[in-house]
């Protein structure tokens, strides 16, 4: 069995319910499945957080979907604080009301991330598939008023990349500590929307130049994170920092996964926190060991001509599955993949015409979501 270090990050997907319908949602396309409605109880999550802290996890991301659809988010935050975890709430902003924000502060929440879809209100609402921009701005102001360090995260694509300067200026005006400019990765709902989202090379080059200038101007006051989309690279990224190396993800129903979309890989079975401890799952489960280390790798990965097998850990398994049809294949982003032409063709096909979004669908958020 490949050896593993202790994980650093627990991604707790409290619920897949969400008031937004973003066409690039990174949740799996099967989120409406019956099994995800059977959400973990408050006691289950509390046990998971304590186990995570004992396992060496330092950072906790409370995410979803929208984590605040859970009425027990404050209580869970308190357990996280008592366990010594550094907690981040990743929210759409719309349910981050004063009452809940104060309770979260009281519970010891460390950091708030608010997603914004664009600097332009009309465009932001169009991408989110619902009117939400003004509430997001209110949520960001509220987070700062209560003394939370604030991250603004914006997923970039063809229809908002040209406003990257305005987006950075908006984050600055909201007194954000960080702004995450994440170019869409084509996983989850983003893959069926690829033709509507894929930016041009010129847009990305402009974006990168703007980011470099803004970093120079702003300095350490606000960190600007800029992540290039895989489709414009010739070498893969270390997806999730490597399979089963740093991060452990718990889905709303308690399934434990190495990444957000691993559930699409056929034949991979995930243990559940209702049956086993996080420690046992992290170190011993078949799913976490499947793509750990280098023994599973195909050639030319295993003897990589650039010696990158310990740098990118074989890239993204889900991308290999979705584009090459085999989760064991070379990540097609890699220039050495026999299927690299799929990536090249997708970016060369970029169609400047508007393409309709396929919005992420889910049941409407019920008034009393949590359990």
């Amino acid at each position: 069995m490949p050896t593993a270090d202790h994980p650093l990050l627990l991604i707790a997907e409290l619920s897949y319910k969400c008031p937004l319908h973003c066409p690039y949602c990174s949740n799996p396309v099967g989120i409406a499945a019956e099994k995800y409605r059977d959400e973990l109880s408050t006691e289950d999550w509390s046990r998971v957080f304590r186990q995570a802290a004992d396992l060496g996890v330092l950072q906790l991301a409370l995410t979803g979907g929208e984590p605040l659809v859970r009425k027990d988010a404050e209580e869970l935050c308190r357990v996280s604080t008592e366990s010594g975890l550094y907690s981040t709430l990743v929210t759409a902003g719309t349910p981050f009301t004063r009452k809940r924000a104060l309770a979260l502060k009281e519970a010891g929440l460390d950091h708030v991330q608010v997603s914004i879809q664009d600097s332009d209100p009309v465009s932001s609402d169009l991408i989110a598939g619902t009117k939400s921009f003004s509430k997001k701005i209110e949520a960001a102001h509220l987070a700062r008023e209560l003394g939370f360090p604030l991250t603004i995260n914006v997923v970039l694509h063809r229809r908002n990349l040209d406003r990257i300067e305005e987006i950075i200026a908006l984050a600055e005006s909201l007194d954000a500590r960080r702004v995450e400019l994440a170019n869409t990765q084509y996983q989850g709902w983003a893959l069926p929307n690829r033709d509507a989202l894929m930016p041009t090379r010129a847009q990305l080059e402009h974006g990168e130049a703007v980011v470099i200038a803004a970093r120079e101007r702003i300095g350490p006051k606000m960190e600007i994170l800029w992540v290039l989309p895989d489709y414009y690279e010739e070498l893969p990224k270390p997806c999730m920092g490597g399979w089963g190396r740093e991060a452990i993800l718990v889905a709303p129903n308690g399934d434990v996964l190495p990444c957000q979309s691993a559930s699409i890989i056929p034949g991979l079975e995930f243990d559940n926190v209702r049956d086993k401890s996080l420690e046992e799952i992290w170190f011993e489960s078949e799913a976490f060991n499947r793509f750990r280390g280098t023994d599973w790798m195909p050639e030319p990965c295993k003897s990589c001509p650039l010696d990158r097998q310990h740098a990118d850990f074989g890239g993204c398994r889900c991308q290999a599955l979705q584009l090459s049809g085999d989760a064991y294949a070379v990540d097609p982003v890699c220039q050495f993949s026999a299927d690299h032409s799929i990536i090249v063709e997708a970016r060369e096909r970029v169609n400047p015409d508007e393409v309709e979004y396929i919005y992420r669908q889910h049941d409407p958020v019920p008034a009393s979501a949590g359990r």
């Binding site: 330092l58 550094y86 981040t88 460390d110 950091h111 003394g147 360090p149 350490p220 006051k221």
Partner: protein, 92 residues
């Protein structure tokens, strides 16, 4: 990009020092990240309370280490961490 020299260092909101018992070392935790710290860095950061000045921190550590001149070490460490936005000046 130059960072203004800090006179009274403190950890900003959302940055905290913690002992990581699994890895048996201190870490500095901040939004989306963690830095493993060596014992020297820990001894400096523990004094970055927004009350003590750099001079006072250096004097305190110097006394602890038999009068060694640690002023520039303290300053360099504070500057390096401030460049990442993880230490700010309590006076500004």
């Amino acid at each position: 990009m130059t960072v203004a020299t800090i006179s009274t260092p403190k950890l900003p909101e959302g940055v905290r020092l913690r002992f990581d018992k699994v890895r048996d070392r201190h870490v500095l935790l901040y939004p989306e990240g963690a830095i493993a710290l060596n014992p020297t860095a820990v001894s400096v950061l523990e004094l970055c309370d927004g009350v003590r000045t750099i001079d006072e921190i250096a004097a305190e550590l110097s006394a602890k280490y038999n009068g060694a001149d640690v002023r520039s070490d303290v300053e360099n460490l504070v500057d390096a961490i401030a460049a990442r936005g993880l230490i700010v000046d309590a006076d500004s």
